[in-house]
Subunit: 254 residues, 2 copies
Amino acid sequence: MLSPKIVKHLNQLQYKKYRREYSEFVIEGIKGVAEAFASKSDVLLLIVEGSQREEKEIIDLIVQAESRSIPVEFCGRKDIGNIKTTDTFPGVMAVVEYTDNTIDDITAGHVVCLHDIKDPGNLGTIIRTADWFGISTVLLSENSVDVYNPKVVRSTMGSIFHVQVIRSHSIFTDLSRLRDDRAYQLVALDIAGTSLPTSFSASASTVFVFGSESHGLPRDLDSLIHTRYTIPGKGQAESLNVAISAGILMSRLS
Amino acid sequence: MLSPKIVKHLNQLQYKKYRREYSEFVIEGIKGVAEAFASKSDVLLLIVEGSQREEKEIIDLIVQAESRSIPVEFCGRKDIGNIKTTDTFPGVMAVVEYTDNTIDDITAGHVVCLHDIKDPGNLGTIIRTADWFGISTVLLSENSVDVYNPKVVRSTMGSIFHVQVIRSHSIFTDLSRLRDDRAYQLVALDIAGTSLPTSFSASASTVFVFGSESHGLPRDLDSLIHTRYTIPGKGQAESLNVAISAGILMSRLS
């Protein structure tokens, strides 16, 4: 049985307000929790479904937690109804502390910048795809969905621990500084650009900027862009999904 | 006010069982409904939120419905709570009839085949992406999510009316027939394949086969494949999301 205090805390972490207040988020599932342990993040609490405590992979996680003096709590069926963030509880979850980074923490490598991305699945998928292609940083505008939203965390499939995600307080200021103070090239996908090459190289100091699902890039950001590409289509669809566009671009970077 | 009979029917169409029984599905939003009118599908009923009946785009839809003798129903705030499939009702929805196609209806062009795809957003996004790249047919295995599920329909962004989607009763039989009777080439994305070329051409008679999000391709289908490609990565992610893989492959077809 979990204490009412822990149940309340886990419920609070489903809301952005409390995640910000505590600088904590929840990760679910064996793979996600294992990635948390393997990362530089601080794991604060491990929660295991009592009936699964004899599973080999779960035992491994418990042993890891104990070796680092991380508290382990066991929960019963009744608790699960109160703490789960999905229809099915995957047997294990952890509370993880996060630290906020700024653009000053970008030391090297390409940056994928998302302006006002709203769909949690799209954001999670883009972080996972960035990880696949070895892109180290994702920069989010101030009105994007929270990266520690449980749906985002889940759809990153653990990649949230491999990619540095920066939540900007002013994306215009941050992109301007990267461009003017640090000589970054700003490349955008846009319907008015030239055809995206099937394979292309870009300086390590490049930000790839993607507009929102519904509104594209606002004019103030548009004025900062050096190069525009488009992904040519030949069907009747009006546009590509932003995660698909980002995936195609990342896959062509050589 | 909608009649209880219509409210009941709209609610039934949220379930696959009834969609199959009636061969009908629901499409929401101005763009989706306009695409339905522009398509060869039969629109059976138009439902408009009463407070929006003076909006120009809504009036256009009403005029189109009336010119084709399609019944138009107006609904109030109270109805919306009973019929909406999302948090926000987009002001307009339509009931559309669908016809079931089989592989005998494939006349030309590339086919994207999805084995046991479960995530509605992934399926909708793949249909939208296929439309963008001019791929005419998507073939679904028998245990895939229903293409007329409201979440799938929504995430196609209208492309459900531009791409022929075939729901197979036996994907093994259908792929075998395409391969052996119609000389189709079967190409799969797979972790064991050769590196996907940055640009490649494929005969019009090609099926691109994608495994499920969690299980890849089953062995029986695996034995039918002629060519295997892989999308090389260099980060720590275990895999790419299936919609991203499909999008990257489609974008490289020249």
